[in-house]
Amino acid sequence: MSEQKRESMKQIEDDILADLLELEDQMSQYTFLVECGLELPEYPAALKKDEYLIHECQVNTWMHLEWIDDCLNWQGISDSLVICGALSLLMEIYNGRTREEIQNFHCSILEQPCFRVHFAQEQLKGLEYMVAKLYEHRLQSDCVHEQVAKADCECPFYK
């Protein structure tokens, strides 16, 4: 029996956006985000250190990135339920992906009105920073192991 092909990052992102659009109204979408946030895997207390705190977020939010068997393992948590929801969806897209998959993926969920509308400007900045940090992390790892130049970064938020 052949192994079932895994959905691409783009397919997962599209599927998440389709779910949000199917819910139609803002209250249902907001509830969806909050409920998704409750599905975040437990964030280890030992990783609630200042070095993992996202200072660009006004609300207390931590993220920890590591590569396990060359696949991304993104952990995170926030004091804000709706930010947890955003993290949960972003992790669904990014976790378990290789550097190559991430490099070839253009993240657009944060630009979509059905997603953006639920966050204040400051919250969006925090989310964008986290995605940028992720690409930066990938590049740092690549720079050590593969000498990939920063110019190759596909992250739309990378400054």
Partner: protein
């Protein structure tokens, strides 16, 4: 899990629409008391709550109960954490309150204004306001 969450919310939408239909179709003959009971069911469907879980008339607290039920957090803790973090956005309970009023406006075809929402502290006041606006709409 994401799909299960979506299905649960779509079902909740269906449930709340049932009460919108009952209220709008029976509008002319509904007493304030019956309207209040139906509107409570509508709000419970929207907030994913059971009527017996609503232990206060304070509308903001009801929104808090809804957020806390989802987060499985003790009363007041979630709000305190979000407020203490000085998050760029409002608390989950405040967002729920605003989004609920926007949904009421859209689904009942009325206009609960920003001034009204500031004035409304309790669920009873909210029912009075909406009942009155539905009556005005009929005239």
């Amino acid at each position: 899990m994401r799909k299960t969450i979506k299905e649960k919310i779509l079902q909740q939408k269906k449930d709340s629409q049932f009460y919108v239909k009952m209220i709008c179709e029976g509008q002319s003959s509904l007493s304030r008391e019956v309207f209040g009971r139906l509107f409570l069911q509508y709000m419970c469907a929207k907030f994913l709550l059971e009527p017996e879980e609503i232990t206060t008339d304070n509308f903001y607290e009801i929104c808090q109960i809804s957020a806390e039920k989802a987060a499985k957090r003790p009363h007041g803790e979630l709000d305190a954490a979000e407020a203490a973090s000085k998050c760029g956005g409002a608390t989950t309970a405040m967002n729920k309150k605003i989004l609920f009023l926007l949904a009421v406006n859209r689904e009942y075809g009325i206009n609960v204004t920003a001034e009204d929402s500031v004035r409304i502290d309790t669920f009873t006041q909210l029912c009075d306001c909406i009942y009155q606006k539905l009556e005005e709409k009929q005239v």
